[in-house]
C-alpha cells in the first residue's frame, strides 16, 4: 500500500501545481496558531486546515442530501484503496470549482473503514476538497447495497428535485464513465432548470 500512497502523493502534488493552488507552509515548521507567518518556505505538504469530513450513517447521509434540494448534486464514491478513484478525484474538485456558482453541489463519499478516517482526511486535504465529504459509518456493505455498487469509483447525479438522474459506473468494460460524461450531464441539467442558476457575481 505504500506504493499507492506514494503515487497518490505525487499525483496530488502535480495536480496542485497545475492548479496553481496556494500551498500552506509545513505546519510542523511554524508555530501553531501563528496565522500568516511567512517564514517557512512554500512546500507541497498538507494544508493546515482540515476540509469538512463527516462520519455518517446511510440514513444521515439521506438527510444531508435532502438539505440540498434545489441544487444539482454530484456524489463521487471513492476509497483510499482504490487507485482509479484517487486519480479521478481532482476532476470532482475541478467540477466543483467550475459549477458551484451555478448551484451544483459536489460531494464525496468514502467507503473506507471508519478506522481509516485519518488517511481519508489526509487525502481530502491534499485534494483541497472544499465541499462536503462523508465517510460511511455503517457496516461496510450498507452503502454498496444502497446504490447497488459493484466497483468504485461511481458517480451519482441528482437533479434539483432530489431524484437520482444517473449512476455513472465502470461495470461495463466497454462503457466506463469519465468525468466528461458527468460534466455533460451536469450541463444538460443546468440548461433544463434555468431557475436553479444562481446569479453570478459581476466581477470580471
Amino acid at each position: 500500500m505504500r506504493g499507492v500512497r506514494h503515487s497518490a502523493q505525487l499525483f496530488t502534488v502535480s495536480v496542485a501545481l497545475l492548479c496553481g493552488c496556494d500551498q500552506a507552509s509545513d505546519p510542523s515548521r511554524i508555530q501553531r496558531g501563528a496565522e500568516g507567518v511567512p517564514s517557512a518556505p512554500r512546500s507541497s505538504s498538507v494544508p493546515k486546515k482540515d476540509v469538512a469530513l463527516e462520519l455518517v450513517s446511510c440514513e444521515q447521509w439521506d438527510q444531508r442530501l435532502a438539505s440540498q434540494r434545489g441544487k444539482i448534486v454530484v456524489v463521487d464514491t471513492w476509497a483510499t484503496w482504490c487507485l482509479p478513484c484517487m486519480e479521478e478525484f481532482p476532476k470532482l474538485v475541478a467540477l466543483h470549482q467550475k459549477y458551484s456558482d451555478d448551484g451544483v453541489v459536489c460531494i464525496s463519499v468514502s467507503v473506507d473503514e471508519p478506522e481509516q478516517r485519518e488517511s481519508v482526511q489526509d487525502f481530502l486535504n491534499r485534494q483541497r476538497a472544499d465541499f462536503a465529504n462523508f465517510l460511511i459509518a455503517d457496516e461496510s456493505n450498507a452503502w454498496w447495497d444502497k446504490w447497488n455498487i459493484k466497483g468504485v469509483p461511481i458517480v451519482l447525479v441528482f437533479d434539483a428535485g432530489g431524484t437520482l438522474v444517473q449512476k455513472f459506473d465502470r461495470d461495463d468494460p466497454d462503457r466506463q464513465f469519465t468525468y466528461m460524461d458527468v460534466e455533460k450531464l451536469v450541463v444538460e441539467l443546468l440548461s433544463i432548470e434555468p431557475e436553479s442558476t444562481v446569479l453570478r457575481s459581476s466581477l470580471p
Partner: protein, 201 residues
C-alpha cells in the same frame, strides 16, 4: 423547451440496461459460453489456452490483480479453496486466475513475485489485451466465474458474502453443484472490489 424534453428522454433511455446480460454482470449471462483465450502467459513460464483445461469437469476462473486490497484479502481464501478442489493432477476442477490490469504493479514480473511470495497454487495468467476481462464483463477484482463441463457459466460474482467474515460461500456451493450436475442455487451475486480500468479501444 422541446430540447429539454428530448434531453430528458435520452437520459431515461440511457438508464436502461443492455438487453442480454446478467443481473449484475453487464456483458454475460448465466448459461453463456466461456470466452476463448489463447496462449496467455502465466507465472509458471508456460502459456495457457482455454482448451488446456478441457479435461477438467469444472473450470473456475477469476479476474484479479496484485495491488487491490480486496483481491489481496481474498488470496488466502482462494489458496485454501484451490487446495480443497484443485490441488491434485487428477482433480476435477481447475482454478485459473487472470490479471488484466495494465498498471506496472500488476504486470507479469510482479505477478510472479507475488505468486512466489504467497505460494499461489492456482494458475495465474496475464492478459495484456484485456480481451478476456472484457469478454467476461469483469469490472472489479476479484470477480469469479464457474464453468461446467460444457463450459457454460453456472455461477458468477463474488466468492462469498463478506470480505471480513463470510457466512455464505457462493463459489464453493456453485462448484459443488456443478460437480454433482445439479442446478446452482445462487447463480449470480454482485462481485465487489476495485474497479478494473479498461483502455479505450
Amino acid at each position: 423547451m422541446s430540447r429539454a424534453i428530448l434531453g430528458t428522454l435520452a437520459l431515461a433511455v440511457s438508464l436502461n440496461v443492455a438487453a442480454s446480460a446478467g443481473e449484475f454482470n453487464r456483458k454475460v449471462s448465466i448459461g453463456d459460453a466461456a470466452p476463448q483465450f489463447s496462449e496467455l502467459p502465466a507465472v509458471d513460464g508456460e502459456n495457457y489456452s482455454l482448451a488446456d483445461f478441457a479435461d477438467k469437469d469444472v473450470l473456475v476462473m477469476f479476474v484479479t490483480c496484485n495491488h487491490c486490497p480486496v483481491a489481496v484479502a481474498y488470496e488466502d481464501r482462494i489458496i485454501a479453496f484451490t487446495e480443497k478442489y484443485a490441488s491434485e493432477k487428477d482433480s476435477k476442477v481447475a482454478v485459473v486466475a487472470v490479471n488484466v490490469s495494465n498498471m506496472e504493479a500488476d504486470r507479469l514480473p510482479k505477478m510472479q513475485e507475488r505468486a512466489e511470495e504467497k505460494g499461489f497454487n492456482f494458475h495465474y495468467l496475464y492478459d495484456e489485451s484485456q480481451d478476456l476481462g472484457r469478454a467476461l464483463g469483469a469490472s472489479v477484482t476479484p470477480e469469479f466465474f464457474v464453468f461446467n463441463k460444457d463450459r457454460k457459466i453456472v455461477y458468477m460474482g463474488a466468492m462469498d458474502d463478506n470480505m471480513q467474515e463470510p457466512t455464505t460461500d457462493f463459489l464453493a456451493a456453485a462448484v459443488d453443484a456443478a460437480l454433482a450436475g445439479t442446478t446452482v442455487e445462487t447463480a449470480e451475486t454482485r462481485a465487489r472490489g476495485c474497479g478494473v480500468r479498461y483502455e479505450k479501444k
